[in-house]
Amino acid sequence: MSAGAATEARSAVRVGRLGVLRHRPVAIGLGALAALGVAIVAGVAFGNIAVPIGDTIGILASRLGWPVATSWPASTETIVVDLRLPRVLTAAVVGAGLAVAGTTFQGLLRNPLADPYVLGTASGAALGAAIAVLIPVSVAWLGFGLVHALAFSGALIAVAVVWRLARTTSLSSLTALLLTGYAVGSLLAAGLSVAMYASGAQLRQIIFYLLGGFSGASWPQLAAAAPLVVVGSVLILIRARSLNALLLGEETAANLGMNVRRERAILLSLAALVTAAAVAVSGLIGFVGLIVPHIVRLMVGPNARLVLPLSALVGAAFLTFADLIARIPGELPVGVVTAIVGAPFFIIILRRARAGYEV
């Protein structure tokens, strides 16, 4: 409690007209929830193939157990239930996960440029995926292939290595973490380049993974990733108080009676786990984890208890919409859409923000 109050007092955020919203986190939450609902419905209703809205509703209703007369072809039902629904829900889960992880990394590292990929997760996952593509065996287990498994492991191993190496330096621990993350990330990126150069015909698969997207989303993949993302995010939410304390600086947090080292390790592990599960199913989708936490902070201030859940909702809605837009011209990489839509929006928000904003 005291940590949250202290944070509020210290960081005097004035965000112009948006400042009105600052005192209405509930309204923002409901708005984001409504946007998420609209995004999910629109994501299921629209796609490459035109499905009459009545059929979409009928199919969903019949799946929910309502007695609806089947008046649509079986292929339409497959498109709605097996292709679009898991895709839309995966986008929502990944969006929420990346936004929560981004909030956590920004808070932990007290760095506004931190994102879920900052400590080597992106390079680790990408290298893992590339190695999986190069291994000449096709292992598919419940739709969760070697690419997903190695991407997940790669992300976690990269963070573990960064954490381990950073502990043994004599620099201040945050600086050490960031710089070690950068160094390890560069090393892994070089490995990725070698793998891409050696990949021949498989290069396209690696590039698709790097661009990120949800075109391959399926129920089994969602079932594997969603629990990790949801449980990890909830555990982070429960520790929002620690994140608030860490925002004040390590000494202050320690004075507040917190075991800084332990709390930081826990939060970092959880955020890495959420990120790894997200990138395993979606590939590397940039921007969401960096921008969404800032947008939310600009609206409600830095209190992690508000920022974390609101970021999850906004991230989920944003990425679901971005995926819908990505599908309209065919199949654009969703990371392109998040940047094209997100960057101008973020610049507008930033210009309206007055002095005093910090992570």
Binding site: I49, T78, D82, V147, Q205
Partner: protein
Amino acid sequence: MACGTGGSPSQSPQAQPTAVGSPTPAAAEFPVTLVDDEGTSVTIKTEPLRIASLSPANTETVFALGAGDRLVGGTEFDDFPSEAAALPDLATYNGVLMEQLVAADPDLVLAAGNDFNPPADIARIRELGIPVIVLYPEDVPGVLHDIELIGAAVGRGDEAETMTSDMQARIDAISTATAAVEQPRTFYEMGAEPELYGPADQSFVTDMITLAGGEPITTGSTTAFSLSLERLVDEDPEVIILGDANYGTTAEEVAARPGWDVMTAVKSGAIRPVDDIIVTRPGPRLADGLAALAHAVHPGLALPSTAP
């Protein structure tokens, strides 16, 4: 094979000969269980009436077997026969258009291996309960095998047998003629930007060059498709075949490239274009492709008449 629950690779003796163009008397041939080029065992319950082809070679084969009217979709690359171009696109360079594929409601999908169609997409189609046969011929006999495999899958086993024996006879005739003359060191250029691309060791194109009476110059590895100019100069090609002629490369341009004037082929002007599509597309026009390639390697050689 046509009757293949036993998995015997030999042709079933009791298969009924059918007139080309007429519907197949399918009762005797289905259900059929086939093993595709990735080793996956695929059971096709009834004669497929809605076929989706995910590679231009598969599309050509289905048309050549007289089952083109049963295709419900193809790829963005389909260009032969001309009807094929009008098929709805179900696969692009970027992968399979999954919603379009499901909407086309196919009862058989003919995919291409070796990453032509992304493996994840193929797995996804199987997950949705649609039978998929993955075709990936690694050499010339593999192409003939795949035509027979598609024939068995679509209930056109006998037409496929006839077609492949004709193709085999033509291929044999060409390779016999080309084997009798000197084998020039031949480089088949697949592309020159940003690097020089040529056939890998033991690849399909390498096989074709050998049959066409050339000594293939390869990348020196089974997995690399690029090679250095140093390697090419060292190998000193006597003939350069421009597989990239369809994309605008000309003999003059090649001769003017810095460093290329030392090669025998450039000095003697033995730089010749070929229609890359028929040479490299593993489909029913492969014998035409071999004839075109043999003609490019040995322009003076009289080849056996083309029509079998």
